[in-house]
Symmetry: C2
Subunit: 248 residues, 2 copies
């Protein structure tokens, strides 16, 4: 089959014409055709809500460009982010047709959507696709557990440093650059959204950012562009052990 040039980010799955991690692994076969037949694109602006918790969701999707957040809200308004979706991440749960969380675009966003029913059929009939989805879900579970340590036991400063290192790494992976020495990237979240990610208030986020800046761990160019002069210095602030990574 001829290699097609598609507007997908270059991610882990290097040998696949469709760059979605979810439906990939090695899909040089029929199911690619099937996927092409059931997919379509949606675009959102920063701040737009994609679905509210409880809404019907007749699609699943891969993030192509931009960033989306999953959040939970308590009746009195307390909010906690529980998922952050970057390009190549998967949105939606097979066999559940209602959203469990609010999903919001935190930057301009493009989704590549698959109609739910045919996608589920594909999943049922294509073992290697569902195995790939299992792997991705296990990775997300690891990320969630790392996040739980952050929420339960880290100080505000450690939380901010950890967050920055996570975003820096994900960004570097997508750009195919290393995370060592000087690293620069744009924050995909407002201070308030960072607070919802970290279980803090936006004032505390702001103060700790200022403090890391004062201490030379980060530079701020504008409100959103972060330069980390020495990535190791940042890592020292995260509270993680040096050779970190969940895979021990």
């Amino acid at each position: 089959m001829a290699q097609r040039q598609l507007a997908f980010p270059q991610v882990e799955c290097a040998d696949c014409p469709i760059r979605h991690r979810a439906v990939c692994a090695r899909c040089e076969t029929d199911e690619l055709e099937q996927l092409e037949a059931i997919k379509y694109y949606r675009n959102y602006e920063a701040g737009q809500t994609i679905v509210w918790a409880g809404d019907k969701m007749d699609f699943v999707a891969s993030v192509v460009h931009g960033v989306a957040a999953l959040t939970q809200t308590m009746e009195d308004g307390r909010r906690q982010m529980v998922g952050l979706l970057l390009p190549s991440d998967f949105l939606g749960r097979p066999n559940r047709d209602r959203a469990a969380y609010d999903v919001t675009a935190t930057t301009d966003l493009q989704l590549c959507c698959f109609r739910r029913t045919p996608f589920q059929d594909l999943l049922a009939n294509t073992p290697h696709v569902s195995q790939r989805l299992l792997e991705m879900t296990l990775d997300e579970l690891d990320a969630a557990r790392e996040w739980m340590l952050l929420l339960g036991r880290k100080t505000a400063r450690e939380k901010i440093a950890s967050f920055l290192s996570i975003i820096a790494r994900r960004d570097a992976t997508l750009q195919q650059r290393p995370t060592a020495g000087e690293v620069a990237f744009d924050l995909p979240l407002t201070r308030e959204a960072m607070a919802d990610y970290l279980g803090l208030t936006l004032e505390t986020v702001s103060r700790q950012m200022s403090s890391l800046k004062k201490d030379g761990v980060i530079r701020l160019e504008g409100k959103r562009h972060i330069v980390i002069p020495d990535f190791d210095l940042l890592m020292d602030e995260t509270g993680d052990d040096a050779d970190g990574g969940v895979l021990a």
Copy 2:
């Protein structure tokens, strides 16, 4: 195939001779034979460590009796529980032969283990088993996200109430009893382990338990046996909306 009587808890999967949720769904076929061939049992006492993060793990397992905890520890000793495994829960990650977390028995524990390599082969060759495992992993991801809301945004009192309601519900499911009106069960964790679950100190756990007791939300018979006179009253303390549940 003849119905075998095995010492497994009666869980969701009602029509299967093996009661592990992980390997079940509908396994009245050959792969049951295969599983029988590669499985064995291990027993642990309360407090025993099953594996340390980073250790080689040559098996995956279902919890048969008892409770196990997954915890992460920072160098300075801060600890966060990131998983709590009750009977029918699955331990171990396919395609990863090293433990990512410390695994400890918090009560006497029996595991039904499967040797890793043949289990992985089975998984690769038996789509409905890997699909079942995907479902279970997605459920765990939901639980982790609920847990993140608890860690990030709930007060100490709400954390305790939420924890008690979670344990009460899991226990009731296993015993096939309803969670309404008066509910009673034994805590499978020490105050310290509860603190590690909830991102609190053991003193705060103790104080909040006393406070809920004083307010008549719970009764304590001994240190570990909990009686909840009115389950709705407990739910009012959790901070969750009335019709809770992640599936909205």
